[in-house]
């Protein structure tokens, strides 16, 4: 079977694509830095570093700011590829270190929200389609419409107000409590407890999106020829829904989830800011306040990488679901 070869080709393709995207982002970063008004060295030094003349000189040397543009670009890209994302004067640390330290927290948040959105959203969408026209369908549609219209940060604040301040069920800030013991299991539980509100906040918008898409997709599939064949075969409605309609209807949802991955990661920035979640999104917010562009660009690059990883997940999921894609047809 050519399945193995196709999978290898698929992974190879993903690697190539990721490399291309990251390269493009690096180039974009390079030109964005030049776009800012003023001396590029001052821009790259950030608000805090701009006052230090020695630091400015160092930057000019490291990035070859007096060289012709193409050489600067090459210089910049090779630097980044080696892992040098610049130096944050304010925090007295290399940007790369700061980002890598906080990356796991963002990954935890983003992947949790993504999985939550996909599972809950699809489940609700299927329920709404199965009960088309009845109260469950109406309720789900209305709630989905509502969450689809709420700004992410507002949902987060409302969650804090209600579930944290008023009900006291969940913590409002951070990823860990100070009072938790050293036991790994206890710490994991504590993290999960802190994760609930942020993950739901980030996920709910997409729950709404996927629910509506899943519902529409199932209703669309209902009219397809092969569903008519299944009915003509005398199969019970439950079987038709599970084995025939669902897998075909969910393919577009998976595709769409992949496309939306970029937005999801972007949303993490806002959610981390609201909940003081110690991830790279919050780092970006701090970078904004401090006008630390290197930090911002670094976050941009790494979040692009995260999107590629999520895309890999969705593409693999799609391959599992659709045999036509597996065979390279």
């Amino acid at each position: 079977m050519s399945g193995g070869l196709n999978t290898a080709r698929f992974l190879g393709g993903w690697l190539l694509k990721s490399a291309a995207v990251l390269l493009a982002v690096m180039t974009l970063n390079f030109f964005l830095l030049r776009l800012a008004p003023g001396d590029p060295a001052v821009v790259m030094a950030g608000e805090a570093g701009a006052s230090d003349a020695q630091f400015l000189e160092q930057i000019r040397k490291d990035y070859g700011l007096d060289r012709p543009l193409p050489e600067q670009l090459l210089n910049y890209v090779t630097n980044v590829a080696k892992g040098n994302l610049g130096y944050s004067y304010r925090n007295r640390r290399p940007v790369a270190d700061m980002i890598l330290e906080r990356l796991p927290a963002t990954m935890l948040l983003t992947v949790s929200a993504f999985v939550l959105a996909l599972l809950l959203g699809t489940a609700l969408g299927v329920l709404a389609a199965a009960r088309e026209g009845r109260w469950q369908d109406g309720a789900i549609t209305v709630v989905a419409l509502a969450f689809y219209a709420m700004p992410l940060f507002w949902v987060g604040l409302l969650m804090i107000l209600f579930f944290s301040a008023y009900l006291g069920w969940f913590p409002a800030f951070g990823m860990a409590s100070f009072t938790v013991s050293g036991n790994a299991f206890a710490r994991a539980l504590d993290t999960t407890w802190h994760l609930v509100l942020p993950a739901f906040t980030l996920g709910l918008f997409y729950v709404a999106t996927y629910a509506r898409l899943a519902r529409a997709s199932i209703l669309e599939v209902k009219h397809q020829d092969f569903v008519r064949t299944a009915r003509a075969k005398g199969l019970p409605p439950g079987r038709i829904l599970r084995a025939h309609m669902l897998r075909n209807a969910l393919l577009p949802v998976i595709t769409f989830a992949g496309i939306q991955a970029g937005q999801l990661v972007g949303g993490a920035v806002v959610v981390e800011t609201v909940f003081a979640w110690p991830g790279i999104g919050r780092l970006a917010f701090e970078g904004l306040l401090q006008r630390d562009y290197n930090l911002l660009m670094g976050v941009f690059l790494l979040s692009a990488m995260m999107v590629m990883v999520i895309n890999l997940m969705t593409d693999l999921l799609y391959r599992v679901a659709d045999p036509r894609v597996r065979a390279g047809a």
């Binding site: 389609a129 219209a149 709420m150 107000l161 209902k222 979040s303």
Partner: protein, 278 residues
């Protein structure tokens, strides 16, 4: 025109949406005239709860929240509309050429579209506004830059399917010029889904603008709903009204636009609407 309105009317949600939208528009246009005065002006003690004098209370510095909400409507709607206009124009042109000519032109456009959709667009918008300096102009540009891909994909898909239709082939055979074919034969048939998408994009643009303002990247000279919520974070628990009212304003506006968009979809694409609405 009559049929359009008849179908639109059938959807209760769309009518509600239209009503809310009209109210918002009136507030945006006439509000600042009816409620004169600077929303930045400190009017009373800070953190006053809603009362008869201050229907929405006062914020951390003592400014009238209601005044902020009324004046903020302008910024959100303006940015929402203009950035959508720019994004749609850009997406339309790129998508039309890609869909019609195919080949290398199409390949390039598809690569660019995929790239912009892959990268986290909100972060790019943040970076752009930060780099260009926050102002209405830079916000419009950054939102437009990150939201044009879906329009481009839609237009491209429509064009690709329409180009193969026999009436387009007939136009070629009867000797019509390419520009004529693109704009007078194909485009009128592709308009309906584009209009629906454009209306939904205005909603997304407003959400993005409010998020940018919340993060501190709003135009410092104009008060906007996102900014108000961002500024109130420290006082969240004591003064819920500063966060809730502006947020509710955003919510209602976006909801109204979405409902209107759905109504438009039903009215303009009747065959699709009957099956399953998204």
């Amino acid at each position: 025109m009559k049929d359009f309105w008849a179908i639109y009317r059938r959807n209760k949600g769309s009518i509600i949406g239209l009503v809310i939208l009209v109210v918002v528009l009136i507030v945006a246009l006439a509000g600042p005239l009816l409620m004169p005065g600077d929303p930045w002006e400190i009017k009373a003690r800070p953190l006053l709860p809603p009362s008869t004098t201050f229907l929405m209370g006062t914020d951390v510095l003592g400014r009238d929240v209601l005044a902020g909400v009324v004046h903020g409507a302008q910024v959100s709607l303006l940015i929402g509309l203009v950035s959508t206009l720019v994004a749609v124009t850009l997406g339309l042109l790129l998508g039309a050429f890609a869909g019609y000519f195919g080949g290398p032109v199409d390949d390039i456009v598809v690569r660019i579209t995929e790239f912009v959709q892959t990268i986290p667009s909100f972060i790019l918008a943040m970076v752009l506004v930060a780099v260009l300096g926050p102002s209405i102009g830079s916000i419009v540009i950054s939102i437009a830059v990150v939201t044009w891909p879906p329009v481009c994909r839609l237009v491209r898909a429509e064009f690709m399917s329409l180009v193969q239709r026999e009436f387009v082939e007939a136009a070629v055979v009867s000797g019509q010029r390419t520009a004529n074919i693109i704009f007078r034969e194909i485009l009128p048939n592709a308009l309906s889904p584009i209009i629906v998408m454009a209306s939904l994009m205005v909603a997304t643009a407003i959400l993005t603008e409010s998020a940018l303002s919340f993060m501190g990247l709003g135009d410092p000279n104009r008060i906007s709903w996102g900014y108000m919520i961002g500024a109130a974070r420290s006082a969240l628990r004591q003064a819920w009204w500063i966060s809730v009212f502006p947020g509710a304003a955003i919510f209602l506006t976006v909801l109204a636009i979405n409902l209107v968009g759905e109504g438009l979809n039903d009215a303009l694409n009747p065959r699709l609407a009957r099956r399953g609405r998204v």
